[in-house]
């Protein structure tokens, strides 16, 4: 038995002249929360669809739990929440859920039991009203999102794939989703989710993979990745309104490669060959009152900007190509 939930090797997918995914290799250990990060059009959705055997890669192999991703029954172990969500509008909620569960090989009786549990847990069934008996289009958007989420987990999958799960979610549902991801991990499930929101990923993921324009930029544990990029980031805060004084210093490209200016708080990325001590000396020399000067671990957001830059974010090509 493999200890990898997902093992993708040298996968390539092209649409005509457009390279959607180029030579992607990545491994997701079992029981981890894994973030697939990248701007829109980076190839996240295409990668996920290839995992699910919805589309077929031009070359490369994909292994799930040690077996080919095309092995019969393997998709029954996966729960998938697509970015584009929707349900049969005219169908009764319970019937939609039973249908989704049965498609994954759950017997109707077991499905009914779990549907009851989930409906109660997510407050879709209260003493006043059982929304399970309503038609889908009678539900609010938030409730429909809950139903969709239940549909993803009814068959108790070992691998849960969430494509941009936080997009379009109201804050309450976003919180519920976050809790659910943590709980899934605690039960030994593997969760992989794609997002372009780095803050979410940084807080939730054990490991991440950043892809841009179909290619892997970097991957690894969140802590490792941040450590690997440390020593180059400086947090600088000023007491008074001395912004104009330090402007020549932080504007010196020989010293500082990039500045993230938050007004009175700055995140500086050192230029190649420059020393943090030199920056500190020059800032103090301007007479500005320094409140904080610290070498910090960069956030995923910063690493992302550094490694992908504005280049990767251009072109609004969506993953639905």
């Amino acid at each position: 038995m493999s200890d990898l939930a997902i093992d993708i090797r040298n996968v390539v997918k092209r649409y005509g002249d457009h390279l959607a995914v180029g030579d992607l290799t990545l491994a997701v250990p079992r029981g981890t929360v894994y973030g697939l990060l990248g701007p829109n059009g980076a190839g996240k959705t295409t990668t996920i669809r290839m995992l699910l055997n919805i589309i077929v890669p031009d070359s490369g192999t994909i292994t799930l739990f040690g077996a080919s991703h095309r092995a019969p029954g393997i998709t029954d172990r996966i729960g998938y929440l697509p970015e584009e969500r929707g349900l049969y509008k005219k169908m009764q909620v319970r019937r939609v859920l039973r249908f989704l569960a049965e498609l994954k090989g759950v017997s109707p009786r077991v499905a009914d039991q779990r549907i009851d549990e989930w409906l109660e847990r997510l407050e879709l069934r209260t003493p006043e009203r059982d929304w399970g008996l309503a038609k889908v289009d009678e539900l609010s958007r938030g409730m429909q999102q809950k139903v969709q989420f239940i549909g993803t987990l009814l068959h108790e999958p070992d691998l849960v794939i969430l494509d941009e799960p936080f997009s379009g979610l109201d804050p309450i549902n976003a919180q519920a989703l976050k809790d659910a991801i943590v709980e899934l991990k605690s039960r030994g499930k593997t969760v992989i989710f794609s997002t372009h929101l780095m803050d979410n990923a940084e807080r939730l993921c054990d490991s991440v993979c950043i892809i841009a324009r179909g290619r892997k930029v970097l991957d690894g544990g969140v802590a490792e990745v941040r450590r690997a990029h440390s020593g180059r980031m400086i947090a600088l805060a000023l007491e008074g309104d001395d912004a104009s004084r330090i402007a020549p210093v932080i504007g010196d490209r020989a010293l500082v490669r990039r500045v993230d200016d938050h007004n009175r708080y700055y995140e500086l990325e050192l230029a190649d060959g420059a020393e943090a001590q030199e920056v500190l000396r020059r800032v103090v020399a301007t007479g500005a009152a320094v409140q904080r000067f610290e070498l910090v671990l960069p956030s995923l957001h910063q690493i992302f900007l550094e490694r992908v830059g504005a280049r990767g974010v251009e072109e609004g090509v969506t993953g639905h190509g």
């Binding site: 584009e84 349900l87 049969y88 005219k90 019937r95 989704l100 498609l103 994954k104 969709q148 639905h320």
Partner: protein, 450 residues
Amino acid sequence: MGKLVVVFKREYLERVRSKWFIIGTVLGPVFFLLVAVSPRLFGDNEVRSKELAHVDVIDGTGTGLGARVTAALHETYPLSRAPNLRVVRPELVPAEEERSTLRVQHADVLGYLVLDSATVAGESMGYAGRNANASGDVEALRGIVRQQVLAEQLGREGIDASKVAAFSKVRLVAHTQKIGDAGPERGTGIALLLLGWAVALLLYMMIVIYGQTIMRGVMEEKTTRVAEVVVSSVSTDTLLAGKIVGVGLVAITQVMTWIVLTILAMYYGAPLLIGRAGPGLVGSGGGAPSGMPAAAGAGAEALAAGLPVIPLWAMIVLLLCFVLGFIFYASLFAAVGAMVNSQEDVQQAATPVMLLLVSSVIFMGPIIANPEGTLARTMSLLPTSAPILMPLRMALVRVPWYELVGAMLGVLVSCVISIWLSARIYRVGLLMYGKRPTVRELVRWVREAR
């Protein structure tokens, strides 16, 4: 296989449970029954004007033919206002016609008959009036005049007047019998014609209605994005197959229910309706010898005689026609549904498929008129129209077995092609949003799918 059943179950149950399906299934037979008997309810089936005899009879023959015709008209149509006889000298006929034309214009009469020397010679008569385009009316008038010309001639040959009167009342009703290889077949020609027509129309209707149901279903899955989740659990091929089988069985369920309900309605409902319409029916055939169902309307005749017995092999062909025809068109409709993203687009995209379907029914008239002709033969062999028109032809004439087998094989091959094509378009299109693909893009989809 297990997943196919799950998909099929959803497609079937969700549709059969729907309110509109239940309403349509229950009301269907009522509607058919009304169509079948309404000609009887609204007057007799030979579609003649009620005031047929309310005409001017211009007699320029100088023989008394006008008087005979007038009497016969009055006798045949006792409910109509009486005809007006004008006996004039031949040279005054045109002037009389002008007067009558004015009377028709003022709606004083329905029209006028012109009898002259050519009429006496058995060559021609004239009729002008508001109903001159109604072939049923003109035919009825011609029949009466013809009979009276004959009576006139017999009278001249010295045959006794009372015998002439008896002869002139002879009416002939055609009772037809279709003979097949196994000898005479039950049911009259008109009943078979009706049956063939009804079956063809029903096939067409079911394919259109349920083909479009599939198209809308695919579009719904695509536009609501349910497809995104569903295809992560089941292959698009299985999804498509489950859809076609599920919806196809909904159609079969509906037709079966209709047949059962219609038979029940015929036994219990039809006698009531037809019984009430009875007098109007007898009115037009007043002189017929008793015991003959004179001028019985085609619908009533079919009902009275019971449906013609359909041999088992024909039933199998019929079922095959529906199943194959449905699969052929349903898969095309599914492809259309997967191609489009909006209600506006779908009508346009479905046009080619609808044209194929409609092209089969617009030829029903000519094919009924000449079921052995080249057009009938071609259309009943063409895979796109064979499922609808072959049953029609089968009801009318004896179709050679090799044509039957050829047509079914053709449809089968077309089915395979259309499934192959549609499955590929479906696979790519289902998760492709944005604008409707051009033909070139479609070709690319088909080539690159999987």
